[in-house]
Amino acid sequence: MQAKKRYVIFFVSCGALIYGFYGGFKFNSESVQSSLREQLPTFASFDDLTETQYLQRQPRLNSKPCRMETCFDFTRCGEDPKIYVYPTEGTVSQSYRKVLTVIRESRYATKDPNEACLFLPAVDTLDADHLSPEHVADVGTRLPQLPYWKNGRNHLIFNLYAGTWPDYAEEALGFDPGDAILARASASETVFREGFDVSLPLFHKEHPERGGVAPAATANLFPAPRKHLLAFKGKRYVHGIGSETRNSLWHLHDGASLVLVTTCRHGKSWKHLRDERCDEDNQEYDKFDYEQLLANSTFCLVARGRRLGSYRFLEALAAGCIPVLLSNGWRLPFDERIDWRRAVIWADERLLLQVPELVRSVPPERVLALRQQTQLLWQQYFSSIEKIVYTTIEIIFERISAYKASRHREALIWNSSPGALGILASYGDSRAQLPFTVTAPKAPLAPELLPAPLPAPAVPLISPPPTASDTYTALLYVQVTSPALHKLLANIASSEFCEKVVLVWDSERAAPSLKSLTRVAGDNREPLPVLVIDATTHYPGEGVAARWKPLWAVPTAAVFSLDGDAPLLAEELDFAFKVWQHFPERIVGYPARSHYWDEAKGAWGYSSKWGGAYSMVLPGAALVHRAILALYGASAPALRHAVQRAHNCEDILLNCLVAHLIRRPPLKLAQRRRYKAAHHRYKSSWSDPEHFIQRQSCLNTFATAWGYMPLLRSVLRFDPILFKDPVSTLRKKYRKMELVTS
């Protein structure tokens, strides 16, 4: 027994020792560690964290590159910043002429240099490569002679090509930009002045001024069944800067899923510079067609050329071929606001041979998202020079509003449909106020600031735009009082969702003094408030163009735009609003019209006799989002003038604008065809053939201004669920609507 005990004690102590040595040590050290850790001092004392210093307003440091706060004079820019374009002198390349025209005809332009916030020299600075035929030599001397130059302060300079053979130095512009903002292509991370310069895409001479090619790859096939996985076809430089990457592409080429073909044939002396692979490469090169490759492959290699950027980038984007970048250090176009992570894949020139593996491991759902984003971005920001230039200006102007009021359009607005060009920077500060995201649940509200501890704020509040709510505002445009108007007002008063009536009175006669509408008997709601606005005094000479001007009086996001004699029933008003709540970005209403291409005249035609399809819903009886009407007010001056001149066509313009913006057709409701009372005392202008021709010509004016016909067709209409079903009318919610026939 004793021996056993001894043995046991002996082994137990041995075990304990061993455990103590190997296992417990760790345990010991851990506990020691954590206590020691608690004893460690914190990295900075309170005094370290609160070091202070008397700050002088820093004088502008010449040694540092420009930033907005050091090189830009914000005091020149007001609420609605403008851009002044110098008058053109001397030779200007075709591309730069397009840039100048686009800006001069835009809503940003001003003719008065004193109210300008930004200046655009009419000196062609696009091409700074003195070997190029487009190069303008004396830019360096002409810029400082500009009357408002002041070392380039508040000036904007476009540049596509900097530097020249052999080093293609980015700094070699041939002129000193000084404090001017450079909008430049092929910018690199190191030279780019962060938050000051704007990065541009490199575009062709043939890039259209307006309109532009519609996105080509709108099919969302899943998984994407393209013939090639990765494609590249282009010239390669045998020697010199930027040649390495393209010279080694042939390693990856397999002729089927990876098509990477290059040629040495370019320039006059290629035969002298050729290397041993040139013949083989040229042979492979001729086997593939460039356009076909773009359209048939999932990814396109965008390899740097002599400069960092290449035309290929835009071409790939347009074709819906996801760019795979092999251009180390390149600042992508407009990357200040565009999130390229959604649309491109970054490869690394140093890891060229890993590119096939990289693209193979992109999951199919990511491919689908990437491709859609290429199309979205192409359409919104790149398809025409107009869009590229507008985007540049919007980015700069947004910096101004960020500086002045800490207000930015959200990144999500920039990177989803309809994009920043479709939303006024000055309209609201939250996505909840915009029509495009109503489906996203609203962020919960911050704790209310009750008035108790806080008296009214010292500065009066400017009321922000309304968010989507359960009510609409009826915005009537009235030229004459008629029984139809009274009937309409009575119907509006019995509508369930109307919050306010705004009546725009456009007539020589005195405006009616209406303050509210009484409800029908049995309806216990408060009388409906009415605001009458006399357009002849408020907006003299604007005519019908003034009908959506008084947005300040509209307290809801939903605006029911009505003609004074629209014969809509209360039921129709309510049903329309119910539908609109699901499609706040579209025009939702009753009277539909259609457009068609008239082969004989070679022009667009306008028709009210539609068959199976329509493309416009007239806002004589339609719901539109307030933000869209605000955008209408800021549309291009040429368009607005056309409406003002014609005293007509405002409804067509609105339809074109919305279609251009959201690329979706409007929505027609139920069966009603006409939206004017058929028989009232005054001769309707709608039966007037003159009127019709005018509308036709409007349509063509708009198509020219946009560079394409934005309208889209639809074949469907929305009816109430039980519309005209052979069931008891008692079951139906919208009964009276069925009785409306025309």
Partner: protein, 714 residues
Amino acid sequence: MDSEPLLTTSKHSRHISYRNILYHRFFVGLLLFIVLSLVFTVLFNLFSTSSPRTNFHEPIKLALLGLPLLELSKDLPKSESRLSNCSYWECFNVYRCGRGGHDKITVYIYPLNDYQTEYGKPISQFSKEFYTILDTIRHSKYYTPDPGEACLLVPSIDTLNQNSFSSEYVSRALHTLPYWNNGENHLIFNMLPGKPPNYETVVTLNTGKAIIAGGGFDTWSFRYGFDISIPVYSHIAERIDSIQPKQKNFMIISTQVNIPENYLEQLQNIASSSIDLLLLDKCKSPTGVVDYMKRCEYTTGRMFNYPEVLKEGMFCVVIRSARLSQAVLMDILASQCIPIVIADSIVMPFNSHVDWNKIALFVPEHNVKNLLKIVHSVSKERRGELYWQLRWAYDKYLASIEKITMTTLEIINEKVFPLAARMYEDWNMPEHLYGPVNPLFLPVTAAKAPGFTAVILTYDRVDSLFALVHKLVRTPSLAKILVIWNNQKKKPPPSDEWPVINKPLKVILTKENKLSNRFYPYDEIETECQLTIDDDIVMLTPDELEFGFDVWREFPDRIVGFPSRLHVWDNVTYSWRYHSEWTNQISMVLTGAAFHHKIWSWYYTHKMPAEIRRWVDDNFNCEDIAMNFLVANVTRKPPIKVTPRKKFKCPECTNTEMLSADARHMSHRSACIDRFAKIYGHMALQAVEFRADPLQYRETVSGIPHMYPDIGAL
């Protein structure tokens, strides 16, 4: 054991020999033990010394005691000074990453050393925060003990606070690091850079090509796409809880004690003319001892507790001082007060990934006088967005040293492995606020030409299947028919029995009779649009189908179907109820015949909660409800019902037997809705009051031929 016979010789001798044997055994045992442990130790030593050859590396022990002493003399060379124009492409050696088959960055930590100057003074003070940084890396998935395999290397010299280390000596120490190589792929952490009087905005240290994770960068010192901006940590912030007052009592609060004089003047001007700004300072006590946990109002001297007072503010001011970035930002964020950042050219923490415009207001230094105007112009909606966003972002990226460290590593990881990069939404849009992302976001009307693929789920009703095939091929836009043969016991009819049609038809045999088979994204579906259809739905006319397809083209991200159903809340049973027919609203369409995008089949199979799929297959029911839930949840859009059709079966054939079956069916379906709503955590379905009809539906007057004349009956 030969001791047995010995034991039996005599009692006495047995006793003695027993003892002897015992001793003998004991010593033999001891000897054995010693020999064994010796052998073990030798082996162990051999094993550990052979580690470079077998590539075995022991993880670093972050021991703080008994560190090897390294004395740095003045003559040692210093590392090269920081390269101000480094970029990821030039200064970062990407070949070091991905070694050993890693698909993420690997981080090595240098062993801790007690660096001292030749006068025996430590060259830097080792802080708790830096220890936590190292410890976080040590325990993260990125850590590697093997310097040869490391993509990033972290020197274990504390450089967080410029005031507590010697730039001279640390530069020397860096140069002595075995893998320093001019700082290539090294990561240096710093929070307080710069010293008086200049207060540089980047750590004053010869860091060569090293990446700097630093606080207080300005846009000039920050190397875009290379350096990482981190916040200045505040240990006060970690003690602030997330409980919020019901009401905020002050519009703007400023609690900072180190506001530069000229800005202070402007703030005092505002505070004196408006009660919207509560301007606080250190409390002056007669003894001269400053209590950091108290703040006093400038004019009245009213006393507040810090940091509790921050919670009372809607907006809180953080203003630059000697350094651009201030630790008070962390206190403000932790208190869920919207920061107003007044610091020109500041680079905000993690600015490359975290969208600070959704978190804070930025007021230029020049514009301090307009502070109130700017704050008042912020709409209620934006205020709400900022308020919730900042809480979420703080908790996710900034709340502790661990999180700051991990976010830093993740950003580097995304740079090195671009496919690992998460989208803007993942970084900045909390799903609980914004919901999932619609996979079909391009606004287009889908093309007509590719047509649609009809996917017919069938078991054995061959006759009606053939009738359906005959009917379907008359729809012009039909591209292909796919028959999903769900019967494993029976073979489909031989090919010569199938109807002869002018469209491709393919039969797919399934392995298991599951309802979910109809929503499998078969490779054979080569069109965007698929028409899911039961084998007995023979009453749909070609015009109806064609119109349905045209409607789908206009709403390609939704389900477009014929008969519809509704969900309603039952106030008696407190549960969702399934409702069919004759309602003025719809929230689901039956997938007995419905068009939808193929991606939803993929979502159904791969992304839908597995619980739902299991429920559907176990109960052999509700796959259509599941699909409606799925699409509505992702897109937040209701389905679209086309044409008046309400039923597939004839309404006259109801009899009592079917009615009772019907009742059971309804309760079953109601249970499904209830269950799915619980799984998603909310009712994803939305009810609408409209359906889509052809433009000329029920029109008699126009005289223009109808586009879809044969729109069937109910």
